[in-house]
Amino acid sequence: MAARRAFAAAVSLSMLFALSPATAQTPPAESIQIGLSTDAISITAGFSGADLTIFGSLENPDPLIARQGRYDVIVVLEGPPRPVVVRRKDRVLGVWINLDSETFENVPVSYSVATTRPLQDIAEPAKYKQLSLGAQNLYMKPADETDSPATIEEFTAALRDRKAATGLYSENVGGVQFLSQNLFRATVRLAPNVPVGTHKARAFLFKSGMFVKESSAQLEIRKSGFEQSVFRVAHDDSFLYGVFAISLAMLTGWLGRLIFRKD
């Protein structure tokens, strides 16, 4: 139904354009582009979090609006989606035990946001909900939708809270800066425990509170050579890995005795 109405609107809009040739002279619409200096980041042994800088540009900005600072940009680096179980502890006979739980499908493992201004100053909350933009507005799909809305609401809030507490969901207000009328720079945080996988960088352009355009790019985060090999061997050749772990332990025990022996 909604689709048909949108179609109808599009038809009437095009008719309007056809009828009034003056509108052909309206400036071309603004759009946004982002670029990453690399399409892959490697996490090394010393990794303790980092700032990722993303450059982007505004195309065809209206100079007047740009001068008044009414263009806003929100950049999001979204980690790979994974299913997550949220558990709540309750007291049973004095002991805190995991009792209730709620499983969510496709929760981004990480979600870093950088904005020009505080989110509430850029656009209406309803807009963010519609775009599923911002950690507070991300739609988390429960695996069991028959649970009561209150329960789902509670666990969704807890999920966001835990993600924020571990630094995986972060917000960097003022992290997007315009370097010129066209060029901007966004700084998003990578938490020390940033997950490996394909991350998606997305930039949203707002003009005077209205959403204009979105652009996205992909970024691969992986463990660097050695860590990646260890991880891969542990999962793919787990038997060999186990044998190696045991041999290493025996060798260390034997060498340790040889070197530090006191008897």
Binding site: K89, S101, G242, M250, T252, G253, G256, I259
Partner: protein
């Protein structure tokens, strides 16, 4: 200096881990225990996920028990036959433990179960040891000769069938309690990431009446294999063994153990046991507090679909 652990997937301080290994190694050398019961809780306090702390703890135990068993082998205080029968039971118990471990992890009750087991076992063993050693200390202070049980004394265990002769331990006993003890320790080893020496040693001495001089060597011998088996099974079924983490702990541990053994020689047996008992109790109390005190956060996240 930070180091990224590939399996635990977090950055940790390399010196904290080395120091942790060295401190536990020192204590384990001093008291003649593997130290797994200290390493695993310490790792959990240091925010290593419990599943990884347990599997890696088992790996770490191999190094310290191998090192210790070597010394006992050279001194001839190791009963291979007794160790072998304990081991046979251990493999069965360990296999059962791995299944329970995977099941609990899926149910989200693994952390609770690990903590409960630690609290109950450490509390019991620590309490008994403290009681016994304080009595011994008091007795020696009042000048009375310590009352030793006669080595020929028998209990119900010695009436069980399927007897077997263990020459090095000068023992003629049914294989049932030996296998059972091995299985119990194996089960604990795979769930708690401990070698089980702190239970094995008193059980061999008090239940089976194995002469004290062969107990530690034999216990260490069987612990090498049980924890090796546990490590292997954890590595293949749960992928939770972090070799980098284990290696840092071992490196600190083997160095600390040799100094600890030296320090241990200067202390008397009862004093040593009283100190160990207090240490064990302290860990138990710390873990118990976590169970009963309202956690700062009631919610926890974990990846769904883990087996």
């Amino acid at each position: 200096m930070g180091i990224y652990l590939p399996i635990a997937e977090i950055s940790v301080n390399i010196f904290v881990l080395l120091a942790m290994g060295a401190a536990v190694g020192f204590l384990s050398g001093m008291f003649g225990v593997g130290g797994g019961f200290l390493i695993t809780p310490l790792l959990i306090f240091y925010n290593i996920p419990p599943a990884i702390a347990v599997a890696t703890g088992a790996n770490q135990v191999i190094a310290s028990s191998f090192s210790g068993a070597l010394s006992h082998f050279k001194r001839g205080t190791l009963d291979f036959k007794l160790g072998g029968v304990l081991l046979a039971g251990g493999i069965v118990g360990s296999t059962a433990g791995i299944f329970v471990f995977a099941l609990l992890r899926r149910l989200g009750q693994l952390d609770l179960f690990i903590s409960l087991l630690y609290v109950v076992l450490l509390g019991t063993v620590g309490g008994l040891m403290l009681f016994e050693s304080v009595n011994a200390l008091r007795a020696s202070r009042s000048g009375a000769a310590p009352v030793l049980k006669k080595s020929g004394q028998h209990n119900w265990i010695h009436r069980l069938p399927f007897k077997m002769r263990f020459r090095a331990s000068k023992l003629f006993v049914s294989v049932i309690p030996v296998l059972g003890l091995g299985a119990g320790i194996g089960f604990l080893s795979s769930i708690m990431g401990v070698g089980g020496g702190f239970i094995m040693v008193p059980a061999l001495i008090y239940l089976l009446k194995v002469p004290t001089n062969v107990v530690i060597g034999t216990s260490l011998f069987q612990i090498i294999f049980t924890s090796a088996y546990t490590t292997l099974v954890h590595a293949t079924t749960n992928q939770t063994v972090d070799v980098i983490l284990a290696f840092l702990l071992m490196a600190g541990g083997v160095a600390g153990a040799q100094y600890g053994a030296k320090a241990g020689q200067r202390l008397r047996g009862e004093q040593l046991r009283a100190l160990l008992a207090m240490l064990v109790l302290a860990v138990a109390i710390r873990l118990a507090a976590d169970l009963f005190v309202t956690p700062p956060n009631l919610y926890s996240l974990s990846a769904a679909g883990l087996n």
